[in-house]
């Protein structure tokens, strides 16, 4: 997911490079409050860990190997703000020492892997785990947080790539940077992370959290959920407000064609698809509630309803796991970053 130089145009990388400065300042201030002078080695070690975890080859089904990013794991161990600094430093070292990731794209890489991934993953972990999770609930929460965290980061990268043909093109419409539109870039990035890298990240994070919970559970101290949940709601609201970006995309995402669109492209509808495609009729096809005419408002309402549904399911799952766990606390709550 490391974006090299050349894929993003100046309008995109300049905004993202500028956006990370205040984020780093806030992260630094938050860490300074808690870690004091001990922050230097702690941050250095966390950044080194973040770097090294990417060097572990993990076997995946099919005989191949992949590697995890570890941003959600670091957020679980140190808190999301510390993860912002640690993963950012690892990304800067990767760019400056190993030429992995671009110089102009540092802002984009930091936003995706050091901000979106740990924050989304950590707050989802907190939401599902609750304040005093048992062993099983903590592991499931870590897996869900890691999977959603990396998928969210990949979608952000897909949006950054997909905006390029809209923002920078020649007079004849040829894209000057990343060539794929939103309808191709977002599904391509999201699908490979949902099916391949996401499960890998989840397995690795769950495994490490399981080992640490047994051997050194003090490293997994939970912090009170009140403030993190406030951030979660704020981030969720911001994401919902950004959803109309999807309306900018023209055409249909690759592989998501309807029967009518397939007929237009191929001249026929495959028999199996025609049979199965009518089994279920969605209440809001194409994210457009039938009772709203304006597409922008419809997209916003669909995003709000979808988010409510997902949060409700996650909350219900958390409650269910909490009952099965017998609410046996692994370690006491304490304040962390």
């Amino acid at each position: 997911m490391h974006i090299p130089d050349g894929y993003l145009g100046p309008q995109t990388y300049a905004v993202l490079d500028a956006a990370i400065v205040p984020l780093w300042m806030i992260a630094g201030a938050r860490i300074r409050k808690t870690l004091k002078a001990r922050q230097v080695p702690m941050m250095a070690l966390a950044a080194a860990f973040s770097f090294v975890i990417m060097m572990f080859n993990v076997p995946v089904p099919g005989g191949s190997t992949g590697h995890a990013v570890g941003a959600v794991l670091i957020a679980i161990l140190l808190g999301p703000w510390a993860a912002v600094v640690a993963v950012s430093i690892a990304l800067v070292v990767q760019a400056l020492v190993f030429a992995d990731g671009g110089i102009t794209a540092i802002g984009a890489n930091v936003v995706n892997m050091a901000v979106i991934m740990p924050f989304v993953g950590f707050y989802l972990y907190r939401l599902v785990a609750g304040d005093r999770p048992g062993f099983g609930r903590r592991i499931v929460a870590a897996g869900i947080g890691a999977w959603v965290g990396i998928v969210a980061a990949s979608i952000a990268a897909g949006v950054e790539f997909g905006l390029q043909p809209l923002l920078s093109h020649t007079a004849s419409g040829q894209p000057l940077y990343a060539p794929y539109p939103l309808a191709v870039a977002v599904p391509a990035m999201a699908l490979e992370h949902m099916l391949f890298f996401g499960p890998l990240e989840a397995v690795v994070t769950m495994g490490i959290v399981a080992v640490l919970a047994r051997q050194d559970s003090a490293l997994l101290d939970m912090k009170p959920a009140a403030r993190p949940l406030r951030w979660l709601w704020a981030a969720l609201a911001a994401l919902i407000l950004l959803t109309p970006i999807g309306v900018l995309a023209t055409g249909t995402a690759w592989g998501e064609w309807s029967a009518a669109q397939l007929k237009g492209a191929l001249g026929y509808v495959p028999a199996g698809l025609g049979r199965v495609g009518t089994l279920w009729t969605a209440s809001m096809p194409a994210y457009m509630p039938p009772f709203i005419a304006n597409p922008l408002v419809g997209y916003l309402v669909a995003a709000a309803l979808g988010a409510t549904l997902v949060v409700g399911v996650a909350w219900g799952l958390g409650k269910l796991l909490s009952r099965k766990d017998g609410s046996t606390p692994v370690d006491p709550p304490s304040a962390r970053l």
Partner: protein, 293 residues
């Protein structure tokens, strides 16, 4: 290759068709990464155009080059930038073959894979150059893909050249001198040292496993072992932080990071800067006026 490092990442003789274990492959990859960093330091200490420059000017150059390349739209100018990075490599005693090979095998190959579909009629319709059905290569598609690949190679090439010709300690000194807070510079310095230390630990773990194993092991076994070792590295990282801080205090750490070496710009550095600014203006001027898109 530094003679003392010749053994790093060196695989034992293999029979044809034999499969290297996961532990061996990972240990080799880590060994190569460590050796590469140490070799870079050796190259950066040698003679050459880029090596002789003040690291502050090189850091500013890397940003200026990347930004300028990002504003260039025409393929001929982007190719000229790629050739310029190779000329700079030759002037800096860097083997052009290994430099081009490294850039192409990392950034170039990745860019090629990413943008290959955009060269086809499936994504970019237009005049067909190579008829291959729905995957026919079109003229506008080829131009779009070539432009992206050339830009990626130019940016990655110049970045790699600066990395290869600048010692990490000089990069840190330059960052400090350019106003980056001491705390950040100290963290970056420590991070690089800890990365090397942890990489060594991880490499040794994998080599130890390799030496104990009679077979390559199943994927499930390997996965369990890798996750367990990752957890070990996590615990060791967190525990070591406290020890490192105590050691810093014992050596009189007070928050400041004094440097014993002053960086002084010479006439050569200012000449480099003037040439760089002129080149950037010329490149953008030619791109906009000679090859308007």
């Amino acid at each position: 290759m530094i003679p003392a490092l010749a053994h790093i990442g060196e695989a034992p003789p293999r029979r044809r068709g034999s499969v290297r274990s996961l532990a061996r492959r990972t240990a080799d990859a880590i060994g190569h990464a460590v050796a590469e960093v140490l070799e870079n330091d050796e190259l950066a200490s040698g003679p050459g155009l880029m090596q002789a420059l003040d690291p502050r000017f090189k850091l500013v150059s890397i940003v200026a080059f990347a930004v300028t390349a990002s504003f260039v739209h025409s393929l001929p100018v982007l190719i000229a930038l790629v050739l310029a990075t190779m000329a700079l490599a030759a002037a800096s005693s860097v083997s052009v073959t290994s430099f081009a090979g490294k850039v192409w095998s990392s950034a170039g190959l990745f860019a090629l894979l990413v943008c290959a579909p955009s060269a086809t009629a499936w994504i970019t319709p237009g005049a067909v150059l190579v008829p291959l059905g729905p995957a026919s290569i079109t003229a506008p598609g080829l131009l779009i893909a070539s432009r992206l690949i050339a830009r990626v190679i130019a940016g990655a090439g110049f970045g790699l050249l600066v990395i290869w010709t600048t010692r990490w300690t000089d990069v840190l000194r330059a960052l400090s001198s350019l106003g980056v807070p001491d705390l950040v510079v100290a963290t970056l310095a420590m991070t690089q040292k800890q990365i090397m230390s942890l990489l060594r630990t991880v490499e040794n773990m994998h080599l130890a496993r390799e030496s104990r194993m009679l077979s390559t092991g199943s994927a499930t076994e390997n996965r369990g072992w890798v996750v367990d070792r990752m957890a070990f590295v996590a615990r060791r990282s967190m525990k070591t932080a406290d020890d490192v801080y105590d050691a810093m205090l014992a050596r009189g750490y007070s928050g400041a990071m004094p440097s014993l070496i002053d960086l002084r710009a010479t006439a050569r550095d200012w000449a480099w800067m003037a040439a760089g600014v002129t080149a950037c203006v010329l490149v953008l001027g030619i791109d906009r006026m000679v090859f308007p898109t």
